[in-house]
């Protein structure tokens, strides 16, 4: 049995895929590694490059060619094919730090936890800047159970770039991500939580998250364009939380709420601040918030801590439609005064 299966979703990344695959196949001992390259119907030469690697490293690189179905579909397909004890995802425009990855593999061989977490780095290649994301509040090398972990709004949740899950666990939780949808990484982050028992933190920065252009991060147009997908994934998180509320421990519930906060906060930002059609924004937020109250009243209560949402609810969300700018400024001013 292989130690680690890595799924590399590929879609039109011919400029980057070599860097990504090189960073994996350069490890000294490839025997425990399974690299599953899932070509999501690329229209450039990405598939040919991946094929080249599959031919050169048949012992560890597998190429799956499929029709375009989005990021989620590649992970679904990769998981079906994975034979490794552990499973993780590496996007084809990102890469692993080989030196740290070798150390990680060696440590992973001694692990039996459900989830192994590692810090990751965002690489702003246009400026050469790097931003590290680490789980500093947890002890590295130690195994935690849910009860030993505390989560609040300042905790960094377990991202796709930092997580290595047991393959068996992902199958057990029935992981199946939405196809042709953005934001499926958030789905990936919540699916295994109710089934997760033990977590280990390892201090090897392996994942290099590539940010290649100054304005690569979601543009305003894209955010509003993909709003229905954002809402769909958010709704999934609410439903998943509601369905598993009873079986989850308090820590697990706290953790799921944390992911929900994060996503709901950005949802409010997109709907209430960025959407130009104000009446639509009003209707959307009102509808979603009422749905939330019905499906997960505890989550509804918890997000009342956000002043913007709290006062909007009191005003029946009319501010979103009629006077959002002065209202937001007032809330912001209140927040600043409080901070002082």
């Amino acid at each position: 049995m292989k130690l680690l299966s890595i799924v590399v979703p590929v879609y039109n990344t011919e400029d980057y895929i070599r860097r990504c695959l090189d960073s994996l196949v350069s490890v000294g001992d490839r025997s425990g590694l399974e690299i599953i390259v899932v070509n999501d119907g690329s229209r450039d030469s990405s598939a040919d490059i991946a094929k080249e690697y599959a031919e050169k490293y048949p012992e560890c690189v597998v190429l799956i060619d499929k029709e375009n179905g989005g990021h989620g579909s590649t992970i679904n397909r990769g998981l079906e094919a994975a034979t490794g004890k552990y499973f993780r995802v590496l996007d084809s425009d990102d890469w692993f730090d080989t030196m740290n990855f070798e150390k990680f593999l060696s440590d992973l061989a001694d692990c039996d936890e459900d989830l192994v977490l590692t810090p990751y780095t965002q690489e702003y290649t246009f400026s050469g800047e790097q931003v590290d994301y680490a789980y500093d509040r947890f002890e590295h090398g130690r195994t935690y159970t849910w009860d030993e972990m505390e989560f609040d709004e300042n905790t960094m949740y377990f991202t796709m770039a930092s997580s290595t899950y047991k393959t068996e666990l992902l199958r057990e939780c029935g992981l199946h991500l939405f196809e042709k949808s953005f934001y499926v990484d958030m789905q990936f982050n919540v699916y295994p939580i109710p089934y997760l028992k033990t977590v280990r933190f390892l201090d090897h920065k392996i994942y290099r998250y590539f940010i290649g252009r100054p304005n690569q991060s979601m543009s305003q147009e894209n955010l509003t364009k993909n709003l229905p997908q954002h809402e769909r994934v958010l709704q999934f998180i609410v439903d998943y939380y509601a369905a598993n509320r009873e079986t989850c421990s308090e820590s697990q519930r706290n953790y799921l709420s944390l992911i929900f906060y994060f996503m709901y906060y950005s949802h409010i930002d997109i709907v209430c601040q960025k959407l130009k059609k104000r009446f639509r924004a009003y209707r959307l937020i009102k509808k979603f918030d009422r749905g939330l109250k019905k499906t997960a009243p505890d989550l509804y209560e918890k997000v009342d801590a956000f002043p913007y949402l709290r006062y909007s609810r009191r005003l029946g969300y009319l501010n979103v439609w009629l006077f959002n700018k002065p209202f937001s400024r007032l809330i912001d001013l209140g927040r600043r005064l409080r901070a002082r």
Partner: protein
């Protein structure tokens, strides 16, 4: 056909990129040239140390003057005195004064065919925008502010600061105007413009008229300048950098990567050595010293051109560094002549540069290792080379496009050929 007069302040034996580029081009051309140059002043160069002899088709005419201003007048006087000997002139920057000579000659003798060959952009050099020597950081003309909105443009505070800067830096403003006029005149009056890369062509050709008369001729290498390759294996991987570094074109990401590697492996110096020949910014030197990189990175003084080529040949990897000018331009408009020399050495190149622009394309197409400014990406690739024995898969067929013989052939056909075609008309 009459001889072509080439006006260039730099030319061998002066060790300067501009002169060497001109030398390689002319000496591989099938036409005959007189090069009006000088060998008295070595300002802005790496000294007078290039032992290269002209081939029979090229003759150097040495000016007596020691300053650029005198040389400029002497060049114009020379042309006046020898008007009948030349129908075509070529001026080569840097320095920009050679184009001033061209403009003066063209205005006086409009029937002379003028080829203006540009090294770097003159009037809007990205470096000058970034270091703020000629453009205020609060000025709307500074490309650093190109993406800032109306709020910035209409800000009274900005206007005030910008006006104060202009008053305080009158000589700089005056010099900027002079440079702008010089480049505009050169591009307007010349009959043919030579750029050294496509990005520069896009950056400098502000209208279709200029674009139509422009040709891109990349810098080249001359295979005859290199010694035999030393095939004996080295006890460690040897990286070589030759040339100029500063705060924009900085070794910092590489040094950061090496520092990080040293922390993981104390014995890095037994596995790899980096030899840096040339200048470096004080900030980089401080970083080098503070982090104890002296055992891995050896710093050396400038060397003569031919010696630098021999060093390139004997290294395992040549290091190329480009300045990150993303704040003022979306693509790298520079193509360093050194890259062509690296190509000629046959040694693989380890480069970090902007991921857009001609240099990036050239290096990528040549199969070299081309990286961003991320210290971690640099470390990653150094690790593969030093510890895993990674070898670049160079595309020699593509690299041959930079061979001086091929570039000169293109020059003969596309530039001189254009002149001959017009003459026949």
């Amino acid at each position: 056909m009459k001889r072509i007069l080439v006006i260039s302040w730099f030319y061998p034996p002066i060790n300067s990129s501009e002169g060497l580029v001109t030398f390689k081009l002319l000496n591989n051309s099938r036409y005959e040239y007189d090069v009006f140059t000088q060998k008295g002043a070595t300002d802005f160069s790496y000294g007078k140390n290039v032992a290269l002899e002209n081939r029979p088709n090229v003759r150097s005419i040495w000016a007596k003057s020691r300053t650029i201003a005198e040389w400029r007048s002497e060049a114009i006087d020379y042309f006046r005195a020898h008007r009948d000997e030349y129908d075509c002139i070529m001026t080569r920057s840097m320095p920009q004064e050679s184009h001033e000579v061209g403009t003066a000659i063209k205005k006086e003798f409009p029937d002379v065919y003028w080829i203006a060959s540009f090294g770097d952009p003159i009037k809007s050099n990205p470096y000058q925008h970034i270091n703020g020597t000629l453009h205020s950081y609060n000025g709307t003309d500074n490309l650093i502010n190109r993406n800032k909105g109306l709020k910035f443009r209409l800000s009274p505070k900005r206007m005030l600061y910008s006006a104060a800067w202009r008053i305080k830096n009158r000589p700089a403003v005056k010099f900027r105007r002079y440079l702008a006029k010089l480049e505009d005149d050169a591009l307007k009056y010349c009959d043919c413009v030579i750029y050294n890369n496509e990005s520069q062509q896009r950056y400098m050709s502000t209208n279709d008229k200029i674009l139509k008369k422009s040709v891109v001729l990349p810098h080249s290498y001359d295979v005859t300048f290199y010694p035999e390759k030393d095939t004996a294996p080295h006890d460690k991987v040897r990286f070589l950098f030759v040339g100029h570094l500063d705060d924009i074109r900085t070794a910092r990401p590489l040094f950061e990567a090496l520092k990080d590697m040293k922390e993981s492996d104390e014995g890095l110096a037994d596995r790899a050595q980096f030899d840096f020949y040339g200048d470096m910014s004080d900030n980089d030197l401080v970083f080098w010293a503070r982090n104890g990189l002296g055992d891995v990175v050896k710093l050396h003084r400038n060397v003569p051109y031919l010696e630098s080529l021999a060093l390139m040949r004997s290294a395992d990897w040549c290091v190329h560094v480009d300045g990150n000018i993303r704040s003022v331009s979306d693509e790298n408009v520079f193509f360093a002549a050194k890259v062509a020399d690296y190509f000629g050495s046959g040694t693989p190149i380890f480069a970090y540069t902007m991921n857009s622009g001609s240099t990036y394309e050239y290096l990528k197409n040549a199969g070299e290792v081309v990286l961003s400014y991320s210290a971690m990406e640099i470390r990653q690739n150094l690790y593969r080379i030093i510890y895993k024995g990674y070898k670049a898969d160079q595309n020699r067929e593509y690299i041959a496009n930079f061979d001086a013989v091929n570039v000169a052939k293109r020059f003969d056909n596309e530039v001189v050929g254009r002149f001959l075609g017009r003459k026949e008309e």
